[in-house]
Symmetry: C2
Protein backbone atom coordinates (compact mmCIF):
# COMPACT_ATOMS: atom_id res chain seq x y z
CA UNK A 1 0.00 0.00 0.00
CA UNK A 2 1.22 3.51 -0.74
CA UNK A 3 2.62 5.20 2.37
CA UNK A 4 0.27 8.20 2.26
CA UNK A 5 -2.77 5.92 1.81
CA UNK A 6 -1.61 3.78 4.71
CA UNK A 7 -1.08 6.86 6.89
CA UNK A 8 -4.52 8.16 5.96
CA UNK A 9 -6.18 4.85 6.85
CA UNK A 10 -4.30 4.57 10.13
CA UNK A 11 -5.27 8.13 10.99
CA UNK A 12 -8.85 7.51 9.93
CA UNK A 13 -9.15 4.54 12.27
CA UNK A 14 -7.07 5.60 15.25
CA UNK A 15 -6.62 9.36 14.93
CA UNK A 16 -9.21 10.03 17.63
CA UNK A 17 -6.84 8.41 20.12
CA UNK A 18 -4.26 11.17 19.60
CA UNK A 19 -4.44 14.42 21.56
CA UNK A 20 -5.94 17.49 19.86
CA UNK A 21 -2.49 19.06 19.62
CA UNK A 22 -1.03 15.93 18.00
CA UNK A 23 -3.96 15.76 15.58
CA UNK A 24 -3.55 19.36 14.47
CA UNK A 25 0.18 19.03 13.84
CA UNK A 26 -0.21 15.66 12.14
CA UNK A 27 -2.95 16.91 9.82
CA UNK A 28 -0.99 20.02 8.90
CA UNK A 29 2.13 18.10 7.94
CA UNK A 30 0.75 14.85 6.55
CA UNK A 31 -2.51 15.91 4.91
CA UNK A 32 -2.26 19.66 4.39
CA UNK A 33 1.31 19.43 3.11
CA UNK A 34 2.66 22.27 5.22
CA UNK A 35 6.42 22.25 5.74
CA UNK A 36 7.88 21.39 9.14
CA UNK A 37 9.12 24.96 9.46
CA UNK A 38 5.71 26.45 8.71
CA UNK A 39 4.02 24.25 11.28
CA UNK A 40 6.77 24.93 13.81
CA UNK A 41 6.20 28.66 13.43
CA UNK A 42 2.38 28.36 13.57
CA UNK A 43 2.46 26.28 16.74
CA UNK A 44 5.37 28.01 18.45
CA UNK A 45 7.48 24.87 18.69
CA UNK A 46 10.83 23.94 17.14
CA UNK A 47 11.16 22.33 13.71
CA UNK A 48 12.73 19.33 15.43
CA UNK A 49 9.77 19.22 17.81
CA UNK A 50 7.37 18.95 14.88
CA UNK A 51 9.51 16.27 13.28
CA UNK A 52 9.60 14.25 16.51
CA UNK A 53 5.87 14.61 17.03
CA UNK A 54 5.07 13.24 13.54
CA UNK A 55 7.40 10.34 14.13
CA UNK A 56 5.83 9.67 17.50
CA UNK A 57 2.28 9.89 16.09
CA UNK A 58 3.17 7.41 13.34
CA UNK A 59 4.52 5.06 16.00
CA UNK A 60 1.34 5.42 18.13
CA UNK A 61 -0.97 4.78 15.16
CA UNK A 62 1.17 1.82 14.06
CA UNK A 63 1.10 0.38 17.58
CA UNK A 64 -2.69 0.50 17.66
CA UNK A 65 -2.80 -1.25 14.30
CA UNK A 66 -0.41 -3.94 15.53
CA UNK A 67 -2.68 -4.57 18.50
CA UNK A 68 -6.08 -4.25 16.81
CA UNK A 69 -5.45 -4.89 13.09
CA UNK A 70 -8.55 -2.94 12.05
CA UNK A 71 -7.07 -1.27 8.98
CA UNK A 72 -6.05 -4.66 7.62
CA UNK A 73 -9.55 -6.01 8.26
CA UNK A 74 -11.09 -2.95 6.64
CA UNK A 75 -8.92 -3.30 3.52
CA UNK A 76 -9.86 -6.97 3.22
CA UNK A 77 -13.56 -6.16 3.58
CA UNK A 78 -13.28 -3.51 0.87
CA UNK A 79 -11.60 -6.01 -1.44
CA UNK A 80 -14.46 -8.48 -0.92
CA UNK A 81 -17.05 -5.78 -1.51
CA UNK A 82 -15.29 -4.84 -4.73
CA UNK A 83 -15.46 -8.49 -5.73
CA UNK A 84 -19.22 -8.54 -5.10
CA UNK A 85 -19.54 -5.37 -7.15
CA UNK A 86 -17.57 -6.93 -10.00
CA UNK A 87 -19.75 -10.04 -9.90
CA UNK A 88 -23.02 -8.10 -9.95
CA UNK A 89 -21.72 -6.13 -12.94
CA UNK A 90 -20.88 -9.37 -14.69
CA UNK A 91 -24.32 -10.72 -13.83
CA UNK A 92 -25.90 -7.70 -15.51
CA UNK A 93 -24.22 -8.76 -18.72
CA UNK A 94 -24.48 -12.54 -18.56
CA UNK A 95 -27.37 -13.34 -16.18
CA UNK A 96 -25.29 -16.36 -15.20
CA UNK A 97 -26.84 -17.53 -11.95
CA UNK A 98 -23.65 -19.23 -10.79
CA UNK A 99 -22.40 -15.71 -10.13
CA UNK A 100 -25.02 -15.24 -7.43
CA UNK A 101 -23.76 -18.32 -5.61
CA UNK A 102 -20.26 -16.85 -5.73
CA UNK A 103 -21.66 -13.64 -4.24
CA UNK A 104 -23.19 -15.67 -1.45
CA UNK A 105 -19.82 -17.24 -0.71
CA UNK A 106 -18.06 -13.89 -0.62
CA UNK A 107 -20.63 -12.36 1.71
CA UNK A 108 -20.04 -15.31 4.05
CA UNK A 109 -16.30 -14.59 3.86
CA UNK A 110 -16.93 -10.97 4.85
CA UNK A 111 -18.93 -11.99 7.89
CA UNK A 112 -16.00 -14.16 9.04
CA UNK A 113 -13.36 -11.40 8.68
CA UNK B 1 -28.05 -5.33 22.11
CA UNK B 2 -27.79 -7.77 25.01
CA UNK B 3 -25.26 -6.59 27.58
CA UNK B 4 -23.09 -9.71 27.42
CA UNK B 5 -23.00 -9.60 23.61
CA UNK B 6 -22.05 -5.93 23.74
CA UNK B 7 -19.32 -6.63 26.29
CA UNK B 8 -18.01 -9.49 24.15
CA UNK B 9 -17.87 -7.29 21.05
CA UNK B 10 -16.20 -4.43 22.89
CA UNK B 11 -13.66 -6.85 24.33
CA UNK B 12 -13.15 -8.46 20.95
CA UNK B 13 -12.34 -5.13 19.34
CA UNK B 14 -10.46 -3.31 22.07
CA UNK B 15 -9.41 -6.00 24.58
CA UNK B 16 -5.83 -5.93 23.32
CA UNK B 17 -5.55 -2.39 24.64
CA UNK B 18 -6.01 -3.60 28.25
CA UNK B 19 -3.06 -4.84 30.31
CA UNK B 20 -2.53 -8.61 30.62
CA UNK B 21 -3.65 -8.46 34.24
CA UNK B 22 -6.84 -6.60 33.34
CA UNK B 23 -7.52 -9.06 30.52
CA UNK B 24 -7.17 -12.09 32.78
CA UNK B 25 -9.49 -10.72 35.47
CA UNK B 26 -12.00 -9.48 32.92
CA UNK B 27 -12.14 -12.81 31.10
CA UNK B 28 -12.52 -14.76 34.34
CA UNK B 29 -15.44 -12.68 35.55
CA UNK B 30 -17.23 -11.75 32.35
CA UNK B 31 -16.66 -14.75 30.09
CA UNK B 32 -15.69 -17.62 32.40
CA UNK B 33 -18.40 -16.77 34.90
CA UNK B 34 -16.19 -17.02 37.96
CA UNK B 35 -17.47 -15.18 41.03
CA UNK B 36 -15.75 -11.99 42.23
CA UNK B 37 -14.63 -13.86 45.36
CA UNK B 38 -13.10 -16.72 43.39
CA UNK B 39 -11.17 -14.36 41.14
CA UNK B 40 -10.11 -12.27 44.14
CA UNK B 41 -8.66 -15.37 45.81
CA UNK B 42 -6.96 -16.61 42.61
CA UNK B 43 -5.30 -13.26 41.96
CA UNK B 44 -4.54 -12.32 45.55
CA UNK B 45 -6.55 -9.10 45.44
CA UNK B 46 -9.67 -7.98 47.33
CA UNK B 47 -13.18 -8.71 46.12
CA UNK B 48 -13.72 -4.94 45.90
CA UNK B 49 -10.52 -4.69 43.86
CA UNK B 50 -11.89 -7.16 41.31
CA UNK B 51 -15.21 -5.32 41.20
CA UNK B 52 -13.48 -1.98 40.60
CA UNK B 53 -11.25 -3.45 37.93
CA UNK B 54 -14.21 -4.82 35.96
CA UNK B 55 -15.95 -1.48 36.20
CA UNK B 56 -12.80 0.31 35.09
CA UNK B 57 -12.27 -2.09 32.16
CA UNK B 58 -15.86 -1.58 31.00
CA UNK B 59 -15.25 2.17 31.14
CA UNK B 60 -12.01 1.88 29.14
CA UNK B 61 -13.60 -0.32 26.46
CA UNK B 62 -16.61 2.00 26.28
CA UNK B 63 -14.33 5.04 25.94
CA UNK B 64 -12.52 3.47 22.99
CA UNK B 65 -15.88 2.73 21.36
CA UNK B 66 -17.03 6.31 21.90
CA UNK B 67 -13.88 7.56 20.18
CA UNK B 68 -13.60 4.99 17.38
CA UNK B 69 -17.11 3.52 16.95
CA UNK B 70 -15.78 0.30 15.43
CA UNK B 71 -18.22 -2.06 17.11
CA UNK B 72 -21.12 -0.04 15.76
CA UNK B 73 -19.59 -0.13 12.29
CA UNK B 74 -18.97 -3.86 12.58
CA UNK B 75 -22.57 -4.55 13.63
CA UNK B 76 -23.89 -2.50 10.69
CA UNK B 77 -21.61 -4.37 8.26
CA UNK B 78 -22.82 -7.69 9.62
CA UNK B 79 -26.44 -6.60 9.16
CA UNK B 80 -25.76 -5.70 5.52
CA UNK B 81 -23.96 -9.00 4.93
CA UNK B 82 -26.96 -10.83 6.40
CA UNK B 83 -29.17 -8.90 4.01
CA UNK B 84 -27.02 -10.01 1.06
CA UNK B 85 -27.22 -13.57 2.35
CA UNK B 86 -31.02 -13.35 2.59
CA UNK B 87 -31.23 -11.97 -0.95
CA UNK B 88 -29.03 -14.70 -2.42
CA UNK B 89 -31.20 -17.30 -0.69
CA UNK B 90 -34.30 -15.69 -2.18
CA UNK B 91 -32.63 -15.63 -5.58
CA UNK B 92 -32.04 -19.38 -5.32
CA UNK B 93 -35.80 -19.82 -5.08
CA UNK B 94 -37.08 -17.16 -7.47
CA UNK B 95 -34.22 -16.36 -9.87
CA UNK B 96 -35.58 -12.84 -9.83
CA UNK B 97 -32.77 -10.74 -11.27
CA UNK B 98 -33.94 -7.59 -9.54
CA UNK B 99 -32.53 -9.16 -6.40
CA UNK B 100 -29.02 -9.00 -7.82
CA UNK B 101 -29.36 -5.26 -8.32
CA UNK B 102 -30.42 -4.94 -4.69
CA UNK B 103 -27.31 -6.91 -3.72
CA UNK B 104 -25.22 -4.48 -5.71
CA UNK B 105 -26.76 -1.57 -3.83
CA UNK B 106 -26.12 -3.17 -0.45
CA UNK B 107 -22.49 -3.93 -1.26
CA UNK B 108 -22.06 -0.26 -2.17
CA UNK B 109 -23.60 0.64 1.21
CA UNK B 110 -21.06 -1.60 2.97
CA UNK B 111 -18.15 0.09 1.25
CA UNK B 112 -19.42 3.47 2.48
CA UNK B 113 -19.76 2.39 6.14
Amino acid sequence: MEKIVEQALLYDFYGELLTDHQKQVYEDVVFNDLSLSEVAEDRGISRQGVHDMIKRCNRILQDYEEKLGLVEKFVKTQEKVQEIHRLTQEYRKTEDKELVFKIEEISAQISRL
